[in-house]
Amino acid sequence: MTEIRLEGLKKRFGSDMAADGIDLKVESGEYLCILGPTGAGKTTLMRMICGLTEPDEGRVFFGDLDITHLDTAERGATMLSQTYALFPNMRVKENVLFGSWIKGWPEEESQQLARNILSMMHMESRSKAYPDELSGGQQQRIALARALASGSRVLLLDEPLRALDARLRLELRKDLKGMVKAMGLTAIHVTHDQDEALEMADRIAVLRAGRIIQVGTPKEVFEDPKTPFVANFVGRSNMIQCRVVSSTDGKVLLESEGGLRMEAKDGGHSPGAEVLMAVKVGNTKISTTLPGYFEGRVEKILYEGATITVEVMVKGLGLVYSKLPNRKFDDFREGNTVSVSWSPNKAKVFDIPEGGIEYEIRVD
């Protein structure tokens, strides 16, 4: 069982701070997802943990051992990359056995371990195939088998599902986590896909521009974001700029620039303060009959399958989105006037971000 601790990691490439003071603790046996847009520094972080990149500052611990400058081969942290990197000149079986072979382990045990893992993945029949004869999903499974059979205690997954079709990803998410947990490894899985992170993680660490913004369970990160960026990145949100009017009872009354009034959860701001309010599109309710905070006109209804998204144009505010279960599809038509509302404790209030609102809520 290996606990991972990162202290103050910094790494600079030219003028780019890929890691800007990263502190993180991953519990033994935990499946942690690092979620962030491309360029946030996710890959650099992984590489520093497994030793392929040296940090400029800071330390990496496995358990009590400071491994910051330890050779990659000694760390026992193996990586799964989005290109799979299966050794093209070796068969599936040889790939899977690579870790034990290179470390000179007893052959009998290694072979048994490899057989077990391959059968767990229903891939024993392909053990003599070469990597280029396998499909993408199969290659990913073999790359995982190779990592699991290597005896590593830590598994680093660098966007492992990125190269696969969307539908295939859904299938593999379950398999991947299941197998990692079954082997008892500590895993850090890096991704840009919030659905993937929500589904797979025990905990999520949100990374942007080399900094960890928030760490928490999927529920915590989704329902209680610490910054507007997290509010919009992990689950789309409606963002409305307002001024605080008053607060009572844990609720705060806000007024937008256009004079519309709405409520949110009290964030400790004083009356008159300029704030940014965020409410998830899934928590934004619309109705043709019941009253709400304000009204708008249905511009478009997008059928997404299990859900629908309704675009509502509100005068003085712009477009507000509402995500509803698909059974509501027949309740609305383009051109309808609808009221928009939400439960106040589902809406969160933030300070106006320093770098400006537009930069804060950018998702790339």
Binding site: C50, L52, D71, T72, R75, G76, M79, S81, P88, N89
Partner: protein, 553 residues
């Protein structure tokens, strides 16, 4: 458990100190054994300046020297320009089009590389020209030596140009061009405004390689000129050096030799710098378009004519002249002294083998370092330096090396090997760099995370993947060494490699006007060619390319 030698090396490879020491060793060996000797003649010129200026003031001698140097550079330039013009359409055909028999054309293009230039010199002289006192079924056009040499140089530079251009074209995403065409541009416009500008680096590299190859060539040129009786009146830089060494022996005429070598080296390096600068500065005009005209030349007849001309050029100017030497087998004539020939083969193999072995052991680490450190200043510098022995004409390089080691009284054979190392090293290094660049660095990285030490990762993961390129580079180096004349003459003409053997026979031919000697020389050339052929076929086999295997969605 007792540790084997390999295990010890594996372990050592993870220590940072060891890695650094190894790198320093490889770089030092490169600098001391290859680079310094190659340019040493420049220093020698400075220290012997008074003797040199004596030569420089002799206008008669200078006229000959400038003539020779001028011929070398102008011929190289003309040859390269022609190569560019005919090479681009051929590279295009090979990369973008599928047609029946493509595999054979692919092999044909590389054919000239299998011929030692001595054999090519023969072939060209008897195919195009009127050889003195020889009765052969050629075209018999009386050509000036200048034109004949150009026709010869075209043959062995053509593959360099086509291969370099194909290589770059293959790496260019065809989507850019397709995007242009979806926007309404004709094929020609799209290529001119989109592909060519992105292609510039390839054109310049191809230019440099062809130019340098032409500058270097000695044996074939010498033989071709001898066969038409012009070897004492027309000179290129390298043949002038060879002739001086032939006439005057090793010590005399040293100032002249030094001066010519210096001129050749300085202008060659100058050309390299200018070409590199052109790569960044000069722009192929792509902002103006002439849609109607370019549309017309993109289609139908124009395309067929272009392809027809490229293929005809390949056949008429490259393939047929190359193979023409085999017509000698139809003539009856005396065989050369086979014992002597086989002894010469033995020496050639020894030299080539030793040079290639050195190239592999010290070239691979160099290539690995450069490929993985192209962004560091040392990596960039080494990348440039590795090209130097490729650019410097081998005859000048040989002379420079000879002077560098002159006080060390090393045996002639060792010096020749060192010389051959110098111009074959870049071939292996460039090949391996190219191969490593195409390999996903993830392979070795993941191997390390699975527990492999650096040398283990190299041995078990990278090497198997690049081994066919290592093999190809080695065979290219080997055959290059087998065919080399100029460097061997410049260093020690008594070391009887096969090309020297052939040149000696040709000298007897011109001296005694006896066609038998020419015949013997031809047979010796054919024998050497056959050996190189077999090796080249091994290269083709090792680097089997999959033509037409596309993934479809």
């Amino acid at each position: 458990m007792a540790m084997s030698l390999i295990d010890r090396v594996d372990d050592a490879s993870s220590k940072r100190g060891v890695k650094r020491a190894w790198l320093i060793l490889v770089v030092l060996i490169f600098l001391v054994l290859i680079i310094l000797p190659s340019v040493y003649v420049l220093f020698e010129a400075v220290s012997q300046w008074d003797l040199i200026s004596g030569v420089a003031s002799d206008s008669g001698k200078m006229a000959m020297i400038w003539g020779a140097v001028g011929n070398s550079f102008s011929i190289a330039f003309i040859v390269t320009i022609i190569d560019v013009i005919v090479g681009i359409p051929m590279a295009w055909l090979m990369v973008r089009k599928n047609f029946p028999g493509k595999r054979y054309v692919d092999t044909l293009i590389d054919m000239p590389l299998a011929f030692p230039t001595a054999a090519l010199g023969f072939s060209v002289a008897i195919f195009w020209g009127v050889p003195q006192g020889l009765d052969v079924p050629g075209l018999g056009i009386v050509l000036s030596p200048y034109v004949l040499v150009i026709l010869l140089h075209l043959i062995f530079t053509y593959p360099y140009m086509v291969r370099t251009l194909s290589g770059i074209l293959e790496q260019l995403d065809p989507n850019f061009e397709t995007a242009g065409m979806t926007l309404g541009a004709s094929r020609f416009t799209a290529v001119r405004t989109i592909t060519l500008p992105l292609f510039r680096a390839g054109l310049v590299t191809g230019f440099i390689l062809c130019f340098a190859r032409s500058l270097s060539e000695t044996g074939g040129t010498y033989i071709a000129l001898s066969l038409i009786g012009k070897q004492s009146t027309f000179f290129t830089g390298p043949t002038f050096i060879s002739e001086l060494k032939h006439q005057a022996g090793s010590q005399a005429a040293m100032p002249e030799l030094i001066l010519i070598s210096v001129l050749l080296i300085v202008f060659a390096l100058l050309m390299l710098f200018v070409a590199k600068m052109m790569m960044d500065k000069v722009k192929i005009p792509w902002s103006k378009v002439w849609p109607k005209f370019e549309r017309r030349i993109s289609r139908g007849l124009a395309v067929k004519m272009r392809n027809g001309l490229s293929s005809s050029f390949l056949a008429l100017f490259i393939i047929i002249p190359s193979f023409f030497i085999f017509s000698f087998l139809l003539i009856d004539g005396p065989l050369p002294d086979m014992a002597g020939l086989f002894k010469a083969m033995g020496i050639s193999f020894l030299v080539a083998g030793a040079a290639t072995a050195f190239d592999i052991v010290f070239g691979i680490p160099m290539a690995l370092y450069i490929a993985r450190n192209k962004d560091k200043s040392l990596g960039k510098a080494l990348d440039m330096l590795v090209n130097v022995p490729l650019i410097i004409p081998t005859t000048a390089l040989g002379l420079s090396l000879f002077l560098f080691w002159s006080s060390a009284s090393l045996p002639g054979l060792v010096l020749v090997i060192l010389g051959h190392i110098s111009f074959t090293y870049p071939l292996v290094v460039r090949n391996v760099i190219g191969a490593v660049e195409e390999v996903d660095p993830s392979y070795e990285e993941i191997a390390k995370t699975l527990g492999a030490k650096p040398f283990q990762a190299f041995r078990k993961v990278l090497l198997p993947v690049i081994q066919s390129s290592v093999l190809a580079g080695s065979i290219l180096a080997f055959t290059r060494s087998l065919g080399e004349t100029g460097a061997t003459i410049a260093i020690d003409p008594t070391i009887n490699t096969v090309p020297i053997y052939i040149v000696n026979l040709i000298n007897k031919f011109t001296e005694f006007n006896n066609p038998d000697y020419a015949y013997q020389a031809a047979v010796a050339s054919i024998t050497l060619t056959a050996v190189c052929f077999v090796l080249m076929l091994a290269v083709k086999y090792a680097t089997r390319r999959k033509l037409g295997g596309l993934r479809h969605d």
